[in-house]
Symmetry: C2
C-alpha cells in the first residue's frame, strides 16, 4: 500500500484550491486522470493516448499519483509483464474537477476578442 503525500498545511481559505491543484498539475496528470475515467488502462495504452510522453515521465507521474492515492497499480505476474492502472475511489472523486477543466477548455480554447477586458468595464 503506497504512502499518501500530504500537501496540506493549514492556511488561508483559498488553500483548498491550491491543495487540489497540486494533485493534478504536472503536465500529464490531468490527461491521465481524464483517460482513466473511462476505465482501467495498461501502461502502454496510456502512453499511446499521450503520444509525446516519455516512459520516464509517464512512470514518474503515475508513481506520484499512486503516492497521492489517486490511482491504483496492479501488477500481474506474467511474461511479458502486465501492469494495469485504475482510479481509486479518491481518484474517481476528482471527476467533477476534471470535467470542469475539460468543459472550460472546450469553451475557451480560443480567446474571444473581448474576453480579456475587465468585468467592470465590459458593459
Amino acid at each position: 500500500m503506497p504512502r499518501i503525500r500530504h500537501h496540506q498545511g493549514n492556511c488561508s481559505p483559498g488553500c483548498a484550491v491550491e491543495a487540489t491543484l497540486r494533485l493534478i498539475d504536472g503536465k500529464w496528470k490531468g490527461v491521465i486522470l481524464y483517460h482513466l475515467l473511462e476505465g482501467t488502462l495498461r501502461f502502454n495504452a496510456i502512453r499511446r493516448r499521450l503520444a509525446s510522453v516519455t516512459q520516464r515521465m509517464l512512470t514518474n507521474q503515475l508513481r506520484e499519483m499512486e503516492a497521492d492515492g489517486l490511482i491504483a497499480r496492479t501488477v500481474y505476474a506474467e511474461v511479458p509483464p502486465k501492469v494495469e492502472y485504475s482510479l481509486t475511489v479518491r481518484g474517481r472523486s476528482l471527476e467533477p474537477v476534471i470535467h470542469a477543466l475539460k468543459v472550460w477548455g472546450d469553451l475557451h480554447a480560443e480567446l474571444h476578442p473581448d474576453a480579456a477586458r475587465p468585468v467592470e468595464t465590459a458593459a
Copy 2:
C-alpha cells in the same frame, strides 16, 4: 492591451483538460483567482492574502495571468502608486473550475482510509 499566450495545439481529447490546467497551475494562480472572485484587489492586498509569497513571484504570476487574459491590471497615476487587479470576463468564466477545486479540496483534504483502494475492488 496584453498579448494572449496560446497554449493550444490540437491534440487528443484530454488536451482541453491540460490547456485549462496550464492556465491555473503555477503555485499561486489558483489562490489568486480564488481571491479575485470576490472583487478587485490591490497588489499588497493580494499579497497579504497569500502571506508567504514574495513580491517577485506575485508579480510574475500576475503578469502571466494578465498575458493569458485572465486578469486586468489597472494603474492609477497617483503618488503613492496604486495598482488594482481584477478578473476579466475570461477570468471570471473560470469560476466553476475554481469552485470545483475548492469543493474537492475541502472534502478530501484529509484522506479517508479506504479512499486509496481501487474502484473495482472497493465493493
